[in-house]
C-alpha cells in the first residue's frame, strides 16, 4: 500500500470520501432549479475551443470520410490494401469495433435500469448517445466495404420487378435487419427518457431552440398519465432492447462463425463477441465520461469518482470474462488439433504480426487486471481514461487478429497472404472517428446530456437512515 501511495502520490486518500455520503451524487441533492440551470448552462456554453474542434472534426468528416469514400467509389476497391485471400480488412474490423462500442449504451442504460443500479442515473444519456452514434458510424461500414455500394438496396427486402428477395439465410441480411432494429430502437430509447428533459429545455429557451424543443417535447406537461405511459414504455424498452443488443453482436459474430474459415468457425464466437463488445463499450463510456467531465461545465458535479469506481469494477469483471472466453476459444481450437486452426494459432503468436496479438492480450488482460483491483486507481478519472483507452486499443486489435490475420492464413499454404491497410482505408477509419466525435460534440450542445429528472428522482428517493449508531444509505422506490 505504501508503494501505491508513493506511486500515485497526488491522489487524495479516499478514507474520508467513503465515510462521507456527500461524495455520492445521490446524497448531495440540489434544488431542481439549480440542476436545470447547470444543465442548461452546459448546453449553451460554447467556447472558442469548442468551435475549433467542431469545425476541425466537421472538416475531418467531409475530407477523411466522405472524400476518401467518394474517391474509393469512383475508382474501385483497388485503393484498399485488400488482396486475395484477405477480402475483409480494416473496414470490417472497424465495423465490429463500432458495433461493439454501441453496446455500452444499452448495457449501462437498460441492464442497469432493469436491475435498478442507482449509480447509472447521471450518465445513462451519455451512454445512450454513444450507442446511437457508435451505431451510426458502424452502420456505414457495411456500405463502405461493398464493391458496388450503389446497388446496396439489393439487400433490402422490398417487392420488386425482379421477383427477387434477399437471401434470408445470409448472415449479412441478418446483420442488416439487426442493425436497423438496434439503430431505430436505441434512438427511440434515447429519445423517450429525453422528452421530459426536452420539456425542461423548452421552458428555458427562446427563439429557434424553443420552437425545436417544443416540437420534440411533444407537448409534454408531466401529468400522471404521461409519466405512467413513459415509465411503461421505458420499461418495455429496457427489457426488450437487451435481447436485441445480444442478438446484434451475436449476429456480427455469426458473420464469421457460420463460415468455413478455419479460426472463425467456432461455437463460442457469439458470447465471446458480446463480452468483448461490452468490455470495449463500457470502457468507451468511461473514456467519454472523462472527456465530458473535463470539458463540460458543471459536469464534475454530476460525474464523480464513485461513477468511475463502479464502472471500473464492471470493466474488471468483463475483462476477466473476456479472458475466459478468449482462453476457451484458444484452448479448444488448439486441442481440436485441426491442422489449419493450429497453424493459425501459431501464426498469431509467432507470425510477422505477433505484436498485434501480444498487445491485445496486454491491453485487454494485463492492464485491467493489474490496475482495476485498486480502488484508488478506479477513483482517479484521468487514470481510468488512459486504462479504458488502452482497453479499446486492445479490443480493436482483437478484431484485427480475428479478421485479416486469420483470413490470410487459411488451409492451403499456396494461398497465404499478408494484409496491410492502405492510406485510403486508414483515412476512412479516422473519418468515422471524426464523425462519431463530431456528432457527439454537436449533440452535447443540443440536448441535455444529463437526465435531470432521473437525477432528481434518484435524489428524492435516497435517504440516510439511522441504524443503531450508523447512518446507512437507503433507497426508496417511488414507483
Amino acid at each position: 500500500m505504501a508503494a501505491e501511495t508513493k506511486l500515485f502520490g497526488k491522489l487524495k486518500t479516499t478514507e474520508q470520501e467513503h465515510k462521507d455520503p456527500k461524495e455520492q451524487l445521490m446524497f448531495d441533492p440540489r434544488p431542481r432549479e439549480e440542476l436545470n440551470r447547470m444543465v442548461m448552462e452546459m448546453m449553451t456554453t460554447t467556447t472558442r475551443k469548442f468551435w475549433l474542434w467542431a469545425i476541425g472534426l466537421g472538416a475531418g468528416v467531409v475530407v477523411l470520410l466522405f472524400g476518401a469514400w467518394g474517391y474509393m467509389i469512383s475508382t474501385g476497391m483497388w485503393v484498399t490494401g485488400l488482396r486475395r485471400p484477405i477480402y475483409w480488412g480494416v473496414f470490417i474490423v472497424t465495423f465490429v469495433f463500432w458495433i461493439g462500442i454501441s453496446h455500452a449504451g444499452t448495457f449501462v442504460s437498460a441492464i442497469l435500469r432493469v436491475f435498478k443500479s442507482e449509480f447509472r442515473r447521471p450518465f445513462t444519456r451519455a451512454a445512450e448517445l454513444m450507442t446511437t452514434f457508435g451505431l451510426a458510424a458502424g452502420a456505414l461500414y457495411p456500405l463502405i466495404h461493398l464493391g458496388r455500394v450503389w446497388v446496396f438496396y439489393f439487400m433490402v427486402p422490398y417487392p420488386n420487378a425482379r421477383w427477387l428477395w434477399p437471401n434470408f439465410r445470409s448472415p449479412l441480411v441478418w446483420d442488416l435487419l439487426a442493425i436497423t432494429t438496434y439503430l431505430l430502437s436505441s434512438t427511440i430509447y434515447l429519445y423517450l427518457p429525453l422528452v421530459p428533459d426536452l420539456a425542461m429545455a423548452r421552458d428555458r429557451t427562446t427563439g429557434i431552440r424553443h420552437s425545436a424543443y417544443k416540437i420534440l417535447a411533444l407537448g409534454w406537461r408531466g401529468t400522471e398519465a404521461e409519466w405512467f405511459r413513459l415509465k411503461k414504455a421505458i420499461q418495455i424498452f429496457a427489457f426488450a432492447i437487451i435481447p436485441v443488443m445480444f442478438s446484434v453482436h451475436t449476429i456480427v459474430s455469426w458473420d464469421f462463425a457460420v463460415s468455413q474459415v478455419a479460426g472463425w468457425h467456432s461455437t463460442i464466437f457469439g458470447p465471446y463477441f458480446i463480452i468483448g463488445a461490452i468490455l470495449s463499450g463500457v470502457s468507451a463510456v468511461v473514456t467519454i465520461l472523462y472527456v465530458l467531465r473535463s470539458t463540460l461545465k458543471h459536469m464534475d458535479y454530476f460525474l464523480r469518482p464513485e461513477h468511475f469506481d463502479a464502472l471500473g469494477k464492471l470493466i474488471l469483471v468483463f475483462s476477466m470474462a473476456w479472458a475466459y472466453f478468449f482462453f476457451n476459444d484458444y484452448l479448444l481450437g488448439w486441442y481440436g488439433g485441426e491442422a489449419a486452426v493450429r497453424q493459425i494459432l501459431t501464426a498469431h503468436a509467432t507470425g510477422p504480426a505477433a505484436w498485434v496479438w501480444y498487445t491485445m492480450l496486454i491491453c485487454n488482460i494485463v492492464i485491467p487486471w493489474l490496475t482495476l483491483w485498486n480502488r484508488k486507481i478506479r477513483r482517479t478519472p484521468w487514470l481510468m481514461f488512459i486504462i479504458t483507452l488502452l482497453i479499446n486499443v486492445g479490443m480493436y486489435l482483437e478484431r484485427y487478429t480475428i479478421i485479416p490475420l486469420t483470413l490470410g492464413h487459411q488451409r492451403t499454404p499456396f494461398d497465404w497472404g499478408i494484409y496491410t491497410p492502405r492510406p485510403i482505408e486508414i483515412s476512412i477509419v479516422l473519418g468515422t472517428f471524426c464523425l462519431f466525435t463530431f456528432l457527439y460534440l454537436v449533440m452535447s450542445r443540443l440536448i441535455p446530456l444529463v437526465p435531470v429528472w432521473e437525477v432528481q428522482e434518484g435524489q428524492v428517493a435516497h435517504t440516510l437512515r439511522k441504524v443503531g449508531k450508523a447512518e446507512v444509505p437507503s433507497v426508496t422506490e417511488l414507483d
Binding site: 485488400l82 455500394v149 439465410r169 445470409s170
Partner: protein, 240 residues
C-alpha cells in the same frame, strides 16, 4: 415450382488427372480468353489481385535431390453444398438447379466478398477495378460472356455459356446432348488430356468412368462441400 432434389444431384463434372498435367498453363490462357477474364497487369498479379478462374498450383514433391514439380490446376469446384452460396445476401452466388453448378450472377452481386472469404479453395476472384481493355483487344472479347465491372465477384462457371448453347442446339435438333459435345475452354485447350469434362449423372460418360478411378480424391473432401471436380493422382513421377 422447382422440386427440391432429394439425395445428391449430379450433373456436370470435371476430372483433373494430375499425373498427366504438364503445367503448361494452356488452360489458364484459354479460360481467360473464353471468359473475358480481365488482365490486371503484373503489379496487381504480384500484389495478389490477378484474376484467374483457373490457376495452376505448382508444388515441389519429394526430398532433395529427388525433387519434382507437381501441378494441381484449381478452379471453382462447383460444390454440391457450396459454402459460398448461403452467405451471399442477394442470391448472387446461387446454385443452379438445372445444371447443378454454382453460379455467380454478376449483375446481382453487390461486392460483399463474403463468398470469397468462405470459399476454402480460394477460387473466387474480385474485380478490384474496371477491366482495362485497350482498343484492338476488345475484338477478342467473347460476346457470350458478360464483361464484369469493378466491385463484383467472379469465378469459374464450367463455361456455362457453352453448356447453355450446347443444350439449346441439342434441343433445336431434338436430340439429347452427346458425351463430349460440351467442353469448357480449359478442357478443349488441354494438350495432354489431363482435363475431362462431362455429365456425371450418366454412368457411361467418360468423366463418370474416370471419376471411379482408384487414384481419385477430392480437394478438402473433409469439409463436406461435395466438389464436382475430381482429382486423379498417384501414378509415376512423370505422369501415368
Amino acid at each position: 415450382m422447382a422440386e427440391v432434389s432429394k439425395g445428391i444431384a449430379e450433373k456436370w463434372g470435371l476430372v483433373v488427372d494430375q499425373d498427366r498435367c504438364t503445367g503448361c498453363n494452356a488452360c489458364v490462357v484459354a479460360c481467360s480468353m473464353e471468359n473475358n477474364v480481365p488482365f490486371t497487369g503484373e503489379d496487381n498479379v504480384a500484389f495478389g489481385r490477378g484474376t484467374y478462374w483457373i490457376y495452376n498450383k505448382r508444388m515441389w514433391e519429394g526430398a532433395y535431390p529427388e525433387v519434382a514439380p507437381a501441378f494441381q490446376p484449381v478452379m471453382c469446384q462447383q460444390c454440391g453444398s457450396a459454402p459460398c452460396e448461403p452467405v451471399c445476401p442477394t442470391f448472387a452466388a446461387v446454385h443452379s438447379e438445372e445444371e447443378q453448378i454454382n453460379l455467380q450472377i454478376y449483375n446481382r452481386c453487390i461486392g460483399t466478398r463474403y463468398c470469397a472469404n468462405n470459399c476454402p479453395y480460394h477460387a473466387r476472384q474480385f474485380n478490384f477495378q474496371d477491366p482495362d481493355i485497350p482498343e484492338p483487344m476488345n475484338s477478342y472479347l467473347n460476346p457470350d460472356v458478360t464483361i464484369r465491372r469493378r466491385g463484383v465477384m467472379e469465378k469459374c462457371t464450367f463455361c456455362v455459356q457453352r453448356i447453355v448453347a450446347g443444350r439449346q442446339t441439342a434441343s433445336a435438333e431434338d436430340r439429347p446432348l452427346r458425351d463430349g459435345e460440351v467442353t469448357p475452354a480449359c478442357v478443349a485447350a488441354c494438350p495432354s488430356g489431363a482435363l475431362v469434362f462431362g455429365d456425371l449423372s450418366d454412368p457411361s460418360s467418360r468423366v463418370s468412368q474416370m471419376a471411379q478411378n482408384e487414384r481419385q480424391y477430392k480437394l478438402m473432401d473433409e469439409l463436406g462441400t461435395r466438389p464436382k471436380v475430381t482429382y486423379l493422382k498417384g501414378g509415376g513421377r512423370n505422369g501415368g
